[in-house]
């Protein structure tokens, strides 16, 4: 039976991981792009990314593109699995309700 993941379930983190999980497994997303897409502030997104990074679910790559600093975000295999298990747990809650 799949278990809910406390780190991922927080609303903002769930949205971050949902967005990254829909991309190819090797995809890296620009910090500003994700911030604008999810309509978050720099500080808010940064704080939640740190939590996900500490859990080993996400990697932040800081690099330079055309001499400008850029941060790319990448969901790890562990993060992807944790997200899939979390979704499975959510579906189980609904499935259990529908059958019972």
């Amino acid at each position: 039976m799949a278990e809910l993941n406390e780190i991922i379930h927080q609303t903002v983190r769930l949205r971050i991981v949902s967005s990254l999980a829909v991309l190819d497994a090797d995809a890296r997303v620009d910090f500003t792009y994700l911030k604008n897409l999810l309509k978050l502030s720099d500080g808010n997104l940064g704080a939640h990314l740190l939590k996900l990074e500490e859990a080993g679910y996400l990697v932040q790559d800081k690099t330079f593109v055309d001499r400008k600093p850029r941060t790319y975000l990448h969901l790890t295999a562990e993060g992807r699995t944790a997200f899939q298990q979390h979704v499975a747990a959510l579906k189980e809650i609904l499935g259990g309700g529908e059958s019972g």
Binding site: L4, S19, L23, N36, L90, K91, I93
Partner: protein, 194 residues
């Protein structure tokens, strides 16, 4: 973790689904919107000029699509360099999509030139219908229904204009329904899918 109620679980799943759709749309829309606007503008200009100066129709359609292809490539390279989302799979897909369009354009031009016709309008109709088949197939392949929808609507509009209008007015019709059929959805995608 505190157990969730069914309503909370349903809400979380709906949120996941909504963000996934938003992300897919934003990714598909950024480049697609630009291309639709660009080709919509080229068609509006090309067909309007063909209506105003019919004797130059051949020359207009030799120059404008060439400019469009160059502009599409430049916009594509620029978009890739901005690198909002980087992925090896996406890079490969871009190569496959480019090859797909190259094949469709070659088919359209070769068939347009080879198949016997009574009037230049027949040639344009055939080329537009083949290009729109490309849109329909792209929509199915990339799971972007709006592309298939555009392809079908513009094909039907083209065939209606070709069947019922005199050649000169067909150009005006195509500026509105062909060019507009690309430009308006392009504007919608650019403004709403972000």
């Amino acid at each position: 973790m505190t157990p969730l109620t069914q309503d909370e679980a349903r809400e979380a799943l709906a949120d996941i689904d909504q963000v996934a759709r938003l992300t897919r749309k934003a990714l598909a829309g950024s480049q697609m919107g630009t291309n639709l606007l660009l080709w919509g503008a080229i068609w509006i200009l090309g067909f309007t000029l063909s209506y105003v100066i019919p004797r130059e129709t051949g020359r207009i359609w030799m120059v404008l699509p060439g400019l469009g292809i160059v502009a599409t490539v430049v916009a594509g390279v620029r978009h890739y360099r901005q690198g909002m989302v980087q992925s090896e799979q996406a890079r490969k897909l871009l190569g496959q999509v480019s090859l797909f369009w190259l094949v469709v354009i070659i088919y359209a031009l070769v068939l347009g030139l080879l198949i016997p016709r009574k009037h230049g309008v027949d040639e344009l109709t055939l080329i537009v219908c083949i290009l729109m088949l490309g849109y329909v197939l792209m929509g199915i392949w990339l799971k972007v229904p709006i592309l298939s929808f555009i392809g079908l609507v513009v094909t039907v509009a083209t065939l209606v204009g070709w069947s019922y209008l005199p050649p000169r007015y067909f150009m005006l019709w195509m500026a509105v329904f062909g060019g507009g059929g690309l430009f308006v959805p392009g504007l919608y995608v650019k403004l709403r899918w972000k």
